[in-house]
Symmetry: C2
């Protein structure tokens, strides 16, 4: 025995109940998901993301009126940074909730920064804990790859419904998902890797037959499917250069964090169209990213609205990068061609924190001619 | 949020009961452990290990008298290869038990090789299934890194106690764990990586203070402990060159698969001594490996005893490689010096499939002078 992971989380973190919603096994979810956040190394990675840090810092300190004398809840405080900023900005009381052992480090950090009289670190999951009062502000950095991977926003919605005052403010207040056609040489590379892997399998089948007397060829199809998924259907993390975006970016989901429900985000469906903006190029796939906004609320707006975007950037981007869905083979397109996209994303039945994407597209050439409709399945794992 | 794993499984797969034995959460264990074996890619990796394959092939086909007309149980059959060989060698009936979905592929493979009348593939864990009869042979490839990682042998013991006839034979029949002093430049590399990581942390603390107004220095100690564990205390997979072994290898555990109990392997303790065999070299750590033997049993011995060793080899070794426990700093030693080792390995409280190692050593120079005793903790994760 003994083997190493070549990717693809086959982990069973949920069981699907008869009505199709997922019943989460807490122990499995902890093993698969939360454990990562118990490492200071990961906290440091996130705390080193300047775009992320600056956006939250500005959102708090340029909108102190939302914090001065107020009660704040930080959902998934991690090392405690957002709770600390909230306190430094003048909050009267901050509840900092963290499900992992990182809570202990957050407590130390709060004390070292002399804010233990304002910040109360609570180790537990937001679904289980209780608070002695409702809060004026919920602040949280809950965004996963392509916004919704990790499904952590469910916990923020739960926190809002349980603990936010009717007049309360969400930080961030809004979120959007974007999709754009891209070009990328990675599509060729992944296809080569897949083909090489299948060549290697063929050699393996031949050798196993001749050396060991066992005919493995019946497994060629399932092996090929497993490897196709791994090489061609898994979405990829990528920090795209803006130059790689070959057409207009479109919004596929808008979320008002004050009113959205879990039902609203459990599936994302969009029919959008994008126009190619580059001359004679290749459509190699689609890039997906998100932005969030700190606008306060209508009745109590931000003094200074702040945006955190994870769009392709010449400045190097964020630790979220973009999620890239590659096409095999790519399609030659031209300035003015239109790409009609039929996008749908839902949670993996086996692990509610991972996503399945169904991405159909048609190319309408500027000549008016339609290329055939193509559908692809992808996995955000 | 979103972070990537830099190593160290903090996964909680077991809870410890009051008597110190681990109660395994099956769902978590599946998510953490079994899922890996559901990928054909991993099966292929194991099936491509020539040393492993040849040993099992020879053990079966050079000892057909153990198989002809007999009933066989294959524990953790994976793709089904050992069950197929057992049938090809003449077994009357083979029960091939597999806990993961790989059972479906095993069933296809059995059919494609026209052995469905002999081999019955059963999807389930050995602890849960029942068989209609006792068996003459239990065959299994249960060995993890350094033999006992994965703790899969527990299931083989369970199978033996439940299903082996009193006259039955175990394949393999015996196993041994080895330890030897080694030299390796990786010890310097790991220390550099650790130091670099801590330098980086210091820069991070300074920047977080000046840019973001938060003093992180209180986390320097826990961060350093986390990174020390990651860089310096995790044992490493390595295929050592025999030249890197600088002293005599010693056996630290001998197992008779026919009689051993889980209590016998839950902890491995040994006081051994090794003599340095190289002139003026460095003791950089210890390498651990194992061998297993196919000897049949005393009353029914193998016609041709076969050995499978994972010792350092000029022929490139096995997919198990060796587990390396590195010392920081290394110690200069010379031909004739004696290394007295106090070795202890037990299961991680958080995941019974991972191991904690306590390794103490003293160097007795050939002059008679003793260097001070040093103790190290390691993690096999």
């Amino acid at each position: 025995m003994e083997s190493t992971v070549n990717g693809g989380a086959g982990d069973k973190a949920t069981s699907t109940t008869s009505n199709g919603t997922a019943a989460v096994d807490k122990g499995v979810d902890f093993a698969n998901y939360f454990c990562t956040y118990a490492f200071l190394y990961h906290q440091k990675e996130m705390l080193s993301d300047r775009v992320r840090m600056d956006a939250y810092l500005n959102s708090v300190f340029k909108n102190k009126h939302h914090f001065i004398g107020k009660t704040v809840l930080d959902v998934g405080t991690g090392s405690g940074i957002l709770a600390i900023w909230s306190a430094q900005a003048g909050a009267k009381k901050v509840y900092a909730v963290e499900a992992t052992k990182m809570a202990e480090h957050a407590r130390e950090l709060v004390k070292a920064n002399k804010l233990q009289d304002v910040i109360e670190v609570i180790e537990g999951s937001i679904e289980d804990i209780t608070l002695p009062e409702k809060v004026d502000v919920i602040i949280s950095e809950w965004m996963g790859y392509f916004l919704l991977r990790e499904s952590m926003f469910d916990s923020v919605i739960c926190a809002r419904d349980r603990f936010l005052k009717p007049t309360g403010v969400m930080y961030p207040s809004h979120a959007r998902m974007w999709l754009a056609p891209i070009r990328s040489e990675v599509t060729d590379q992944k296809m080569s890797e897949y083909e090489e892997c299948m060549d290697d399998w063929q050699g393996f089948v031949t050798e196993t037959k001749s050396y060991y007397g066992v005919d493995m060829s019946v497994l060629t199809k399932p092996f090929s499917e497993e490897q196709k998924k791994y090489y061609l259907q898994n979405s990829l993390w990528n920090n795209l250069d803006p130059n790689q975006v070959v057409g207009t970016a479109t919004i596929i989901k808008e979320i008002d964090c004050l009113t959205v429900t879990v039902d609203d985000i459990i599936e994302v469906k969009a029919n959008v169209s994008s126009t190619i903006t580059k001359v004679d190029t290749r459509l190699c796939g689609f890039g997906g990213w998100f932005d969030v906004h700190f606008n306060g609320r209508k009745e109590n707006p931000a003094a200074c609205a702040v945006e955190l975007t994870t769009a392709p950037s010449i400045y190097g981007g964020t630790h979220w990068g973009q999620q890239v869905f590659l096409l095999h083979p790519p399609v030659r397109v031209n300035n003015g061609d239109e790409i009609l996209v039929n996008f749908s994303m839902s949670r993996s039945e086996e692990n509610h924190r991972l996503m399945n994407v169904d991405l159909g597209y048609e190319v309408k050439l500027s000549s008016g001619k339609m290329l055939p409709h193509v559908r692809n399945k992808f996995y955000i794992e």
